[in-house]
Symmetry: C2
Subunit: 611 residues, 2 copies
């Protein structure tokens, strides 16, 4: 059902698990082979640690080239991770990695080396911090910018209990601009006891960094930490700078200096993202993460494939040429939504990356729309979770006619921290917002075109995560006529409401029912934020059962609204979708079975309900 290309991208960024290519046989040094725990690191000489660094990079490249995953951030943080384990005593001292996709070197040093060198073991560990894997990991982490709050809490718990150890938060690769991180930075400053914040300044998030926070890091880099205006000192932190953030010896010396401090302390290190793999050092954005076989494929042009990602951006590039008020906004994930450097260059001043700052992103587009511009925010389902209050307060209450494109919404085999099944409950229950679920290319473009130019509603569009399906017929729907169902077939007995991604599943169910002699009604509900009550009432005349199919969690979602609507009638309702649970890299087959999301299992339930 899911589009393969999208799923591969998804797997790479969010999961790091795809089909296994043939890994190259690698040989590793004796030093590398004998390091299986932090205790082993502590026995090494600087020279040996440099050998170790080199082999850790080899192992990371090996794994990512085989099953895909984050690359540049991990290559850059190798020496700092070794130095942390050399100086501090994990797990007594607590490490928190933020964003936690910088954790590969730490995993290699804490007993999980096999998952990097042995292709068969690659999928066994996640790409993120995970205490279920090791006592050296603190917190299941995936979203960025959480470390300082979590670390402040850990440190305060330590103090309340009268314990003594270091709490070390490593934050970087773009995480520092997130609101939670800045709130945490402010609050941690008055902790009045040990907390060490290692700011990993690699001058990048996924794309290059920009903004006041990053300017404050730049002036410090430019002056070897001596700048007149030091943001950290202004807040009350002890502050140390290290220009050579990939020099293990200097890192050790610095960490030794701050170890066991009784003051909140910032250690600002300048590292090289992608270090040790020349293409990744040069093109930091492309090599932030990579697909399998990227080494072999280096320099080869990938065939351009039309996706739901590319068609929106093609439209927006054209729109920007004609409309000076258009503004495309990304919260630091341009690559994941098709905003390639090429597209960004074409958009010019009509594009901005506000960095990891999803709250601001929604406030910003609300301000743009309120003042007559035409903003389009491109964001992933998992990360829009940061913006509930801004969608409600800044955007919806003000009826700011901004557009949000939510990408990748749907059931997936993603990591627990990157599930995308919660956006329908999150967004569709906010008043005033129009949340649309297109089912094909023409609908998607027609909705986008309508949304960008209208000035009455805050609009969110759930970008399809299915195969490209074009009706071939121009979509002339007037989307300002809210909450009108589209009927693909008017039948009887059973009505199928196939929402967005799952419309095609609805078609399959309809076809199967036809084989059984049931001419089922098939409905594309179009709107996630309101029901076509007239149409639902009309179904009562000759239908016994309505089924809803949605690609998301059922609790708080679309189907429940249909069930509520029919609660006081004789109409039976069956809702299909995901259970309210955190899944973690669970294969799609298993999820489809668990949630009854195959045509066969749905038919079975329908038969049961019709008995």
């Amino acid at each position: 059902m899911k589009n393969k290309l999208l799923l591969t991208l998804l797997a790479i960024i969010f999961i790091g698990v795809t089909n296994m290519a043939n890994a190259q046989e690698q040989t590793y040094s004796e030093v590398f082979n004998k390091v299986n725990s932090p205790a082993d690191v502590k026995k090494l000489s600087v020279e040996e640690m440099n050998v170790l660094s080199s082999d850790i990079r080899k192992a990371i490249l090996n794994k990512v080239d085989t099953i895909g995953g984050h690359l540049g951030p991990d290559l850059g943080i190798v020496e700092a991770t070794i130095a942390m384990h050399y100086v501090f005593n994990s797990p007594k001292d607590k490490f928190i990695f933020d964003v936690s996709h910088q954790i590969y070197p730490h995993k290699i040093l804490t007993g999980r080396k096999d998952a990097f060198v042995n292709p068969l073991a690659h999928p066994e560990i996640s790409g993120y911090s995970n205490p279920h894997e090791s006592e050296h990991d603190n917190f299941i982490l995936g979203h960025t910018s959480t470390s300082l709050s979590l670390a402040t809490g850990m440190a305060k718990a330590r103090d309340l209990k009268g314990e003594k150890y270091n709490v070390v938060a490593l934050i970087g690769d773009g995480s520092l601009s997130g609101g939670e991180a800045l709130e945490g930075l402010s609050n941690a400053a008055v902790l009045n006891s040990n907390m060490i914040i290692v700011v990993n300044d690699n001058v990048m998030s996924i794309a290059p960094v920009e903004g006041g926070i990053y300017n404050s890091l730049k002036v410090l880099r430019d002056t070897n930490g001596q700048a007149k205006d030091n943001i950290f000192k202004s807040m009350g932190y002890d502050y140390y700078y290290l220009e050579e953030g990939n020099d293990v010896e200097k890192l050790i010396a610095l960490f030794e200096k701050v170890k066991d401090t009784n003051k909140p302390t910032v250690v600002h290190i300048h590292t090289l993202k992608g270090k040790g793999y020349e293409p990744a050092e040069t093109d930091k954005e492309t090599y932030h993460w990579q697909m399998p076989k990227f080494i072999e494929n280096y320099g080869k042009k990938q065939p351009a494939v039309e996706t739901y990602t590319s068609i929106a951006n093609d439209y927006l590039v054209e729109k920007a040429k004609k409309d000076k008020a258009l503004m495309v906004v990304s919260p630091a994930t341009p690559g994941a939504t098709g905003l390639t450097p090429d597209v960004r260059a074409k958009l010019g001043k009509h594009y901005t990356d506000v960095q990891i700052a999803e709250q601001h992103a929604v406030g910003y587009i609300s301000g743009l729309a309120y003042n007559g511009a035409k903003p389009v925010l491109e964001v992933l389902s998992s990360f829009i979770q940061r913006s509930y209050d801004q969608m409600s307060q800044d955007m919806a209450i003000n009826n700011a006619p901004a557009t949000i494109l939510v990408f990748w919404g749907g059931i997936s085999p993603a990591d627990v921290t990157h599930l995308q099944v919660f956006d329908i409950p999150l967004i569709s229950n906010i008043p005033n917002i129009v949340y649309l679920a297109p089912t094909n290319k023409e609908e998607y473009l027609a909705m986008l075109d309508w949304s960008v130019d209208q000035n009455k509603y805050p609009v969110v569009i759930r970008v399809p995560m299915t195969n490209l399906v074009s009706t071939g017929v121009k979509d002339k729907t007037d989307y300002s006529d809210l909450n009108k169902f589209k009927f693909a077939n008017k039948g009887e007995k059973v009505a199928i409401i196939g929402v967005g991604n799952f419309y095609q599943l609805g078609e399959q169910v309809q076809a199967k029912l036809k084989e059984q002699g049931i001419n089922a009604t098939l409905i594309n509900p179009v709107y996630l934020t309101g029901l076509d009550e007239k149409a639902l009432d009309e179904l009562k005349a000759n239908h016994d059962l309505v089924i809803t199919l949605e690609d998301g969690v059922l609790d708080g979602g679309y189907g429940e609204k249909v069930a509520r609507y029919y609660g006081n009638s004789g109409m039976k309702v069956l809702n299909f979708g995901a259970k309210k649970e955190f899944t973690d890299r669970t294969p799609m087959d298993e999820l489809n079975k668990r949630y009854h999301l195959t045509p066969e299992l749905i038919i079975k339930d329908v038969e049961e309900a019709l008995k």
Copy 2:
């Protein structure tokens, strides 16, 4: 239904509209009487502006003493508001007030004076920014820390359209620590065109400020803006400091200097919260907002009344004496949840105010709980909206056994920006969280006691917003036995599920049905996050109708889950609760009527359904 005291508090903070006391007749100067628009301000001499300041304070005191409202923040910002209108040209130049409860002087100067001097007109305007009232207000605003994002968007829209004017965001009274504000501060720094941020530094939020951000303001205050480490300059801002933030002449000179700048600029002014009313200058926290007749009641001790607010804190104070791991956390709203200075003093190191930083607050308690402490976060329903992602990622995925007390959840006549009806959909659809809805004092305390000491679940408790009802019977429920209904009566035909605040409404409906000869079943569902499926199945035997009553929005809420559960059965279900809509100071009577939330209207619907 609603507790009067709580409702009064609510009215004061969130609405500013209660019953009207008899206002004192006030006389105002000729200057004050002739100012009806910004154009009038521009004609005044400094001397006249000082007279005007004094009368604006008189008008604010007059209004607040009559119907209640925010006081200290408005008294402190009088001169700055006059100076803004003197120098800039609203509405061409755009003003954004943050938090927008600092907007009273602006309202007085922009044609809404009558609502301050004429008691009959007091309720006509809201206590917050509202473009429906005046073209001089930008955005409907109520939650804090949004101004910089909104202003950045407005400024960018201006630039895209090739327009020229000033965008001025006034941020202060605690707003600067919020994550959205800090994200916005970072992004605005690279706007590369006009944006003026007036930091109103009154050294307070509701309670005193603390933290790194506020330390950075302190070092600037202490050095008359000359500190070596300047957070704003480090980010790239032009920066100006004014110690005399209540001196209209100096304010004018400074605003003249920055007007029409083509760079993002920070104007940091040091003002006196509560200025001009001595008790408010002295006790800034108490006079942040006030109840009607506070002038007359000055110095009189209010009778201590037991409320759901006080009983939790009494419990926590006792708990802290015995358990060193307890930690009570407030995100800058201690007064609203009963964390008075007295309670805070008793809690000592077991209490912290993390400031306006709701995301951090949830990350922080997750870190505390993960590391073995016992944190309890006290937060208002409206503001927990900021923390969805942190509740999901930091707390729920990690199963961090923290406790959140959500206050004031329920349907109310609040301002649109301070509605409290969305917390059930927001929280109850997150996996792993146990969301509890107590219906009386014993349950509430038993739940709190269970939650604080258990270490398996993230727990949220929706603090009742009804009259105190004690069963007089010790509650011995084991709340770790999740999702078990409590049956108050096992009857037939109709089952009433009365959720939390609305349990008593359920009792009333039950009584009315009894009069009609129906022995209805009455259920306290206890848990908002899961159904007692066994009990629901058993109801099928001798019930035709289940009604759910919940004090919140229906969409995504509790009742829909019951409707979904019964979708495939013959059981009829009626869900009672609020419609998905933004209401704005709508009287309770009207809402109860609109939503059918009186026993009479519910009975009518029940009769209809049973036909």
